[in-house]
């Protein structure tokens, strides 16, 4: 507890645990909000339930995985161009 008290309140393990819980709660509320709103969808798919939620999550994970795959070929030490 003494170690914790020395840390800034924002980075104490207890605070971080709470942040995760609140974060998940907000995400859940946002997904459920799809029941109440009536979007003016431009296409069919963007009006379907939970579209923006899963689309945001999955496309981002896909971009991270893709960039990691690309890194296998393109990554070099940051002194690569130094003479």
């Amino acid at each position: 507890m003494n170690d914790d008290a020395k840390l800034h309140w924002l980075v104490r393990p207890n605070t971080i645990k709470h942040l995760w819980r609140w974060g998940y709660a907000i995400l859940a509320v946002l997904v459920l909000a799809d029941f109440v709103i009536h979007p003016h969808a431009s296409f069919g798919i963007d009006g379907s339930f939970g579209f923006y939620s899963w689309y945001g999550l999955l496309t981002c994970l896909a971009m991270i995985v893709f960039s990691k795959g690309l890194a296998i070929f393109l990554k070099r030490k940051d002194t690569y161009y130094d003479d």
Binding site: L10, G56, T59, K75
Partner: protein, 564 residues
Amino acid sequence: MTIDAFPPGVILVLGGLVLPFVSQQIRYTIILLLPLFVLWSVWQVGDGVQLTLPFLDYELAVVKGDALSRIFATVFAIMAFVGGLFALKQKQVAELAAAFIYAGSAIGVAFAGDLITVFIFWEIMALGSTMVIWAAKTPESYKASMRYLMIHLLGGVILMIGVIAHIADTGSVAFQAMTPNSIGTWMILAGFLINAGAPPLTAWLPDAYPEGSFSGTVFLSAFTTKTAVYVLLRGYPGTEILIYIGVYMIFYGIIYALLENDMRRILSYSIINQVGFMITGIGIGTEMALNGAAAHAFTHIIYKGLLLMSAGSVIYMTGGKRKCTDLGGLFQSMPITCICGIIGALAISSFPLTSGFISKSMIAQAAGDEQLLFVWMCLAAASAGVFLHAGIKFPWFVFFQKDSGLRPKDPPWNMKAAMILFAFLCIALGVAPGPLYDILPFKTTYEPYTVPHVINQLQLLLFAGLSFFLALPIMKRTLTISLDWDWFYRKFGAWLIVFLTRGTVEMRRDIFGNLQIFVNSVINLAFKGHGPNGIFARTNATGNSVATVIILLTVLMLIFYLEI
């Protein structure tokens, strides 16, 4: 010529030219007041051609005003003011002088009514921006500025060829909407796109901009790419190829920023990403899309300037630390820099109540209105990706993540004031978009704040945020860079020159080698005869020849007497 027809950009260029020669007091006054005066004069320019100058056989429209010119000139002038405030105490006066020349010529392009004037200001911009990078006075910045200059001079040459070909085709110098259907119009388009950071010449931007000083990079982020957006908006609205170029730039920026470790390189990749949104909008070409592109350029200059000021403050106060692996935990000692950085990050991510929300969503709306499903899906994924690579990644690795142990203070007052001013604008434009919508090129009734739009945007962004923290273990920063198109001219090109010249080196060696053998044999032959042991060097020869001469003379005398 009346005062309201004097080109506003030229006022700023002239101001930049006098900066190095005046006392500190006058310099501060010019830096703080001149951009505001220019901002005022931008709004004195009426619609239509205001100033013409004769040049060769042509009549140049040096100042021509309309709504599109004014919105870009306005944000350029605002940027010059706040950037000047941020850089007020910059010891390299040359940087501020160059930045004012750079900003002034960008305003010059915004008011240029003909292609020759565009070209002239375009080239001044290239020189001004190179000098801004130079002013960082590091070996790295010098090399980067030379690579930067080469690309922009190449772009300038391509643009000039295009302009000349276009004038030869049409006989008109006027700068108006074109369709790429001739060599001239294609070359002009290519010249414009090079400055926008379009593929394949994308790498000059993340190569050069992060090498500017703590304040120089703030200026660099604003003018070159956004002037390119302006000329594309005016010259090539609705050109379909721009949609695909824009989409490429959007994802290129995200992917490379995700792999990057240097915080200002992350933000540089994200410039290309954001310009990609604007170029996609220009390609779509409807009034809504063009309004969106113009509005997004306006808000982008402000929040990107803010993000780079926040990064610049960190560099300034930590003595030059700029890699994510060296930073972290700075929120504890730099609260103002951190909060301003987060506001900039929220704005670039288009969070509701920030400026990005009211501008970027117009472009997505236009894609939806035109039933471009593929483009719309790309834009939505990219919006989530912006939050990922810039919105969370930048503040997280700089101000939070691990505690680096660094405890730098917030920067001096002028830098804080500049950041607070831009942070205020990010939120003010987001809360009350009316004034910005009023100065857009087309009338708009777009309403960004509907309940579904806000909820959907929050869903998209917060789930993108979730993916960041879920993937955090594999996002750990490493001391690496990622190869880009510039590899072709920095490594492959250098190798090619070595490869191609190796043959000539050998040939040269052979020719000179054979020549040497010939010359040596001549020398040896001469040495044989004339050397110390050579036949002509024998000393006993003198006595013999004297005896021979005496004998000959005796014989001659005898013959002489016998004859008589």
